[in-house]
Amino acid sequence: MAHFEKATSLHDWLNQRLAIDTLRRVLATEYWIPKNINFLWAMGMVLAITFGMLLISGIFLLMYYQPNVDLAFDSVNYTIMKEVEFGWLWRHVHGVAASVVFLIIYIHMFTGIYYGSYKKGRELIWISGMLLFVTFSAEAFSGYMLPWGQMSYWAGMVITNLFSLGDLHLNGLVEWIRGDYVPGQAFLNRFFMLHVLLLPLVIIALIGLHFGTLRIPHVNNQEGEEIDFDEEAAKYKAGKKKEAKVIAFANDFLAKDMFVVSIFLIFFFYLVFYHYEFAMDPVNFDPADPLKTPEHIYPEWYFLWSYEILRPFSTNVGLIAFGFAQVIFFLLPFLDRSPNAKPAHKRGLFFYWFWALVIDMIVLTAMGKLPPEGIFSTIGLYAALTFIGLWIILPIITKMEKEVKE
């Protein structure tokens, strides 16, 4: 039995049992953040807060949602929206958050790419982030099934069919995933399980991992400068706060983070109250009908770019291109062969590569929403080929890059 003193206060009582002072020091007051960063570094916190809102609104939706093919549609569109007091609020918060979270994820990712924050010890931050992206995608897809509208049903049909892997013709695998020949009760139930339990658990674990991978390398900064965190922290603790290149995470940095979060929340609740319709596809207000496909089916905006990479090709080539698009971002730290962990504008060709990728993905997104006809098909095809081409030339142009001296 370890030795315990009689506690002098509640704080002391807890401290003896949980070492809360040490915990606080390690996690907050002595976790160092460089000064030379901008508001883009607050996106991680915005994401954490948005996930919290998804969790809370989801819990309230769960109180009346019915995972049954005959009841699901009405439980959402009638019970939650019309009968339950403030049911609409949870649904709109949930829907808007699910959409906006992807906007922030993309900003967060492209910030990382621009500043080279996936290099020199930060590879695992990038990889755990990509795992979060994939799991969030699965979470959003499984959630989209739940209202059991026309888009739910047909998106479920098309996406699960991807697993037959074209000419491999793995119908057995598709039926296994669905638990039926077509999406039905078994399908709705298991996606409900994934959406409300398994995937949120995985997301929470991955957020923990993501934070863990940040601990040793610390966050990057606007110049990609290599900071000696021990030395700078010593200055800060010695009271030379002006001179030190870092500040403490809490409460100093957190206050700034929360400022950005507040602005975000104003924008977010503006959308929730006045512009929620962008997050609710009108086609999904028709109940699922297995004998009628909607005129055009397209995924939510955040999946459009990868959908457009699938679409212009024949089945097999399309699947390979789509598979490529799904994994290629994971490999970024290894495809970028340059020694510089610097912002893109200091890296020559890479700067143009970055903006070409951003523009190409915006074009893919726009084409993915338009019907696959005529000129749109052609633009989509070229944009898809450009996407693949950009990733192929990345190792070459980064290999040619000269080392940037401080």
Binding site: M157, V158, E175, P372
Partner: protein, 168 residues
Amino acid sequence: MGKAFGAVASVGAVATLYAMKKTWDPLPSVKAAGFTTLDMSAYEDNKLVTEKWRGKPIFVLKQSPEMVEYAKKKDELKRLIKVGNDYFMIVVGLCTHLGCIPGYRPERKDFLCACHGGQYDSTAEVTKAPPPRGLDIPPFKVDGMKVVLGEEGPEYKKMLQDGITLPV
């Protein structure tokens, strides 16, 4: 000790994974959900009727003489099912690309899949990618003027052998 634990743990892990896999399998009641019988005397020329088999839409299209001519010319008669003196197209109405339901356009006698723009002709053979092949033909058995879906008759087995359709 470590090895013994490892052995026990891996047996346990394999058994658990097996149980999990089986739990995700379609239920026997779903698998057994059966057979659909169609009365072929009830259909009209060039009028698409959608039936249902195992939850999937089944397209039945009775061919007009003109359509039979077309099929002969394209060597696609082999995709049609002969009942009495008539020819029928009977296919699973799910696009072989990713499973949307193509729409029939009676005036053009073809199918258009709105999802990714695939097209099929009046025997449901593919005429425009991305779909990799014509619509699949469900297992069937001709029984007088009736056709039973879900049973494999000699005509169906021959189609499979000749590679005219894939098993669904």
